[in-house]
Symmetry: C6
Subunit: 255 residues, 6 copies
Amino acid sequence: MDRVKTGIKGLDEMLLGGFLLETANLVEGAPGTGKTTLGMQFIYNGITQFNEPGLILTFEEFPQQYYHDAKRFGWDFRGLEQAGKLRVIMTSPEVSKADLERVEGRISSMVHEIGARRILVDSLSHFERLTDDPSDLRSILFSFINSLKREGLTSVLTRESNALIGESDSAEEEAAFVVDSYLMLRYVEIESAIRKALLVLKLRGSDHAKDIRQFAITAAGIEVQSKFEGQEGIMSGSPRRTMAEGFREAFVKRK
Amino acid sequence: MDRVKTGIKGLDEMLLGGFLLETANLVEGAPGTGKTTLGMQFIYNGITQFNEPGLILTFEEFPQQYYHDAKRFGWDFRGLEQAGKLRVIMTSPEVSKADLERVEGRISSMVHEIGARRILVDSLSHFERLTDDPSDLRSILFSFINSLKREGLTSVLTRESNALIGESDSAEEEAAFVVDSYLMLRYVEIESAIRKALLVLKLRGSDHAKDIRQFAITAAGIEVQSKFEGQEGIMSGSPRRTMAEGFREAFVKRK
Amino acid sequence: MDRVKTGIKGLDEMLLGGFLLETANLVEGAPGTGKTTLGMQFIYNGITQFNEPGLILTFEEFPQQYYHDAKRFGWDFRGLEQAGKLRVIMTSPEVSKADLERVEGRISSMVHEIGARRILVDSLSHFERLTDDPSDLRSILFSFINSLKREGLTSVLTRESNALIGESDSAEEEAAFVVDSYLMLRYVEIESAIRKALLVLKLRGSDHAKDIRQFAITAAGIEVQSKFEGQEGIMSGSPRRTMAEGFREAFVKRK
Amino acid sequence: MDRVKTGIKGLDEMLLGGFLLETANLVEGAPGTGKTTLGMQFIYNGITQFNEPGLILTFEEFPQQYYHDAKRFGWDFRGLEQAGKLRVIMTSPEVSKADLERVEGRISSMVHEIGARRILVDSLSHFERLTDDPSDLRSILFSFINSLKREGLTSVLTRESNALIGESDSAEEEAAFVVDSYLMLRYVEIESAIRKALLVLKLRGSDHAKDIRQFAITAAGIEVQSKFEGQEGIMSGSPRRTMAEGFREAFVKRK
Amino acid sequence: MDRVKTGIKGLDEMLLGGFLLETANLVEGAPGTGKTTLGMQFIYNGITQFNEPGLILTFEEFPQQYYHDAKRFGWDFRGLEQAGKLRVIMTSPEVSKADLERVEGRISSMVHEIGARRILVDSLSHFERLTDDPSDLRSILFSFINSLKREGLTSVLTRESNALIGESDSAEEEAAFVVDSYLMLRYVEIESAIRKALLVLKLRGSDHAKDIRQFAITAAGIEVQSKFEGQEGIMSGSPRRTMAEGFREAFVKRK
Amino acid sequence: MDRVKTGIKGLDEMLLGGFLLETANLVEGAPGTGKTTLGMQFIYNGITQFNEPGLILTFEEFPQQYYHDAKRFGWDFRGLEQAGKLRVIMTSPEVSKADLERVEGRISSMVHEIGARRILVDSLSHFERLTDDPSDLRSILFSFINSLKREGLTSVLTRESNALIGESDSAEEEAAFVVDSYLMLRYVEIESAIRKALLVLKLRGSDHAKDIRQFAITAAGIEVQSKFEGQEGIMSGSPRRTMAEGFREAFVKRK
């Protein structure tokens, strides 16, 4: 099966090679967990490692913010734009939706202009203000996502989590049903510190790693690390050490 | 009693042979748990193993998506359609409901045309947008399900769970009361990884396995595996190892 | 005190002989826990063991469904109807309420016609759609229940639980206050399997067993079994083994 | 201080002698916990042991129900009515409220007629349907309770708990602030059985027992028993054995 | 810094000397925890120990109730009123708010008349019925509290807690932000009994004791006692003994 | 990268040097946790240690309150105002928002007048009353924050937490997504006392300390202390000692 590599070590491995071609991939998490960084890295690696130009669709931040944030990781987004490999478009959910429904809209033009194969949509949460009705929202998201697929794009769609630490109790998960894969980024409190956890919950049409991995945002971007060990209830955000781990720590490590 | 075998190893065993003839069987779960795969496998096995043609009623995805997803498991849905053994119909809850109430509607025609004995309805959740009133919803579901039974069909009806991991706190369970069996698919966090659990909660008119089984989506479809062991609170999504298991792990396994 | 035996072994024992004469007895539980089966068994045993004819009032299922479900347990409901010992009436809450308020209504006629002493009302939940106001609902239920008592009937009233597994967080318990006894049927997860628990929460005017019993639906109907042992928090649906039990299992059983 | 003895062994002891004279005493609990029984016992003992005639104000049940229920405990309410020591009045919150505000209302007349010193109001929950506004409700309850005090009555006011087992999460506790004492009756699951717990949460103007006592409804009425031991979280309804108790049970009792 | 001593042993110590001069001090708790007693004691000690006359502003109870309740602790409020050291004013939030905004209102007059330095407002919760809007409420409370400060008063403001035992899940905490100190009174279940806990959560402009203290209402009023020991989760109302405490109790105490 | 030091020992270290230049930094916590103190310290240290004049924008408290509170820590705010290094402006969210949108508004003038580089906005919560719509709120906050950045200011924005102790269940976290860093101040119950915890949840464009630190408000202001140790679930407000810690305490410390 054709894989679209994120170029993020550890993540491609969890995805058994990468996202699937022309699919919509949701990256959901609380503020600061690194959703946008993951998305930018997906775009940057696409251009520089796999020669796949990319678009960034933003509904809140100005393009300058992306240039600035990317720079921190040594990613020269301005240079890539000038080289015709990247476009950062600030727009609104309404406009981008309408635009994609037209035969030759602005987004479509840009896709053709730079030969884009990847897109980052930051963030899907802004679509939620278009309607209060879950069915309508789902229908809007579904048609938006299909538009992206029709353009031949593989997308990373960020979504903001309702809960800061751990899972929300009553999530509106309309988006979860219309995407092809679902990545969760979570804050987790372990040993009196906050770590970050990444989980691939689903990957339509493929197997994937099931374990909950620790990750960090380093100077080079997202870095997926080893699996959490000896903890129960990680996705709750407030896990407990397992009994076996507790004994080991009390009687083996401490001695 | 007449059994309609799913042909899914392990599942038929849990159902003591299969679903009951001309019953409505709910398969409920979060996105990515494999509801649709289970339903497609039920249809595919029906046609290829038991010579029972089948219908797929879809309210969101295009037929192509089913062909594509089925292909991954080596199921040639296009071929089966051409052989007159399968029909994938994209419609809406409103239309399909009205259609089934007519004497010779489109669905009824197709049932007769291919001699369908099985149907996958994907998903029942879309009926929820027809009304805000739980009583109305229940009445709609009840009459829809009875229409399927009148056509002589044994159905798998998928339904989307409100919670991602574990049980929802405040589920609207109108559907649960009008179906004949209720299968739950759940994400469960065990040993720092997400596994999938399957439970047969009810099977009207028959005994069934009561244990919570692990299952996986393999290259050949759903594969029901062994029972979970040494865990408490599995259906919460965030189980704990039992004390006995903790001791065993700490003093026996680790040594 | 006059007791109306259910004829269900174990249950009559928990009730110290049976329900009290001309009382309303609520049986509440999630789908598939066996509420209707318990009610049918109450009616069937009434007719065949105690020579007390019975009525079944249904607001959703057709009489055929009861004949069919009863047959599984070897209960010949059609035969009993023909013998003038049983009537299965499909109606609505509105109609049955109005009917019972009339001097010589249909239900009353049937009571007299077959000399009915017992009634199964399946289910009380359907009354909830008559009003959104808890006070009104309570008043409606109260007058309905009194009508049944005036007819000299001892009733089993089923009610659907809001939660699938364990207790609901915010139950509307208007019904609980107007009935004479309250039986809870619950799904409980123990040792990685789902069992069924039965609890007599109240029995107006009599003592009763206070322990939480396991029960099963066998080929002969409901069978109340032994008390749960070594578990804490059973009614939560997700109990934990007690520490003593954990030690015993770890060091005694396992060795 | 003047004490109004309930005559219920164990309870008077918890109250350091009884309720205080001319106070309003709330007894709150789930259905079947014994609120009304406690109230009837308060009235019955008042008449027979302390020569204090009493009234029962009921908003739902007919007087006959009280005669009937009382009889079970050997309390001859009919006889007491005939002897002019007891009045059971069925009315509504609206009427009783208006009545008590008039100079010489029906309730007031009855108080004088039989020289009543005690009253059972069953239940205060019915006042909640008079208004949706918590401030209004509180004001209504406050004035109703003061009317009772002006008549020189010591009252037991029952109130229905929102939760069946354990505490409700979001209680409307307007009543709690306007009464002089607050007794909680709760179902508690201990050792796989449901027991009943009684707690005196407050007793305005006096000290009181602070421990959580077990109680039962025996053939002679409410019987307050010993304190619960070795449990944590009793008022949650789902307590856990303490660790010390767990060890004792595992290594001492079992051996 | 100028301290306004409560004269309550243990509490002044927790406050490192007392409240701060001309500040607003919130005392929040469930019914029966002793909020009003603490406030009356603050007023009584002010008059008798520190020669600071005081006012009591009540929105629900009649002055007689305060005289009566105070008497229990041996505090002669009537005498103090006659001596011109105390005024108990029954009013409404609306009136007292308007009154304090006038140049020479009734409350202001009384402050001057008796030279009041302290005030008990019982309770702040009644202001909540003036508006449904949290911002409005906050603005009302803020201006009311400032009026008290302008009069040179140090105030104790009682507030009713939403939860009976432990913390409320969703508190409206507008009051918490506009006051200078926040004292919490809580019911806590420990060793199968209900104890009372006191916590100084904040004290603007000063350090304070951070530990959770047990307290009792004795014949002499509030008495702050020692810190709770060996418990986790006290403020939840349902604490657990710590593991160390459990071991100690199991193997040291019991032997 | 340019860092704006807070001058708060421990905090700058957690931030790997300080906030980033011209960023918006959210400090969120319950009443009394020290949000405003942290903000005042940021302003005071800016002026006195780094020669960066500062503004304080207040929506509720009068400037006098800040002078007064600052004095407690030995910070002479009045003196700094007279020296033209500080401005404390009392305004409303509406006015300050409109003001910042004008070319030469009052805030802008003051920034230029004193050469302000830092601003404390106390508190952002007041913006929430401008709209009920989360999208609108977010848009308002976003444009307000951008106005501050355009003025070249590095800001500390306080925000009030919904929960007193631990995390709120259903936070409206619009603010969290539009700021550059997020500091949480929390009350935590440990060893029967309430301590304060500080966590840097995110710091856009930089790494930061991930551990949960204890802090205190001393006579010199906020003092960040050591990491919490041996506790699980700190951010819940009600942590548990880890098993290893429990054993250590039981068998090592106690002996």
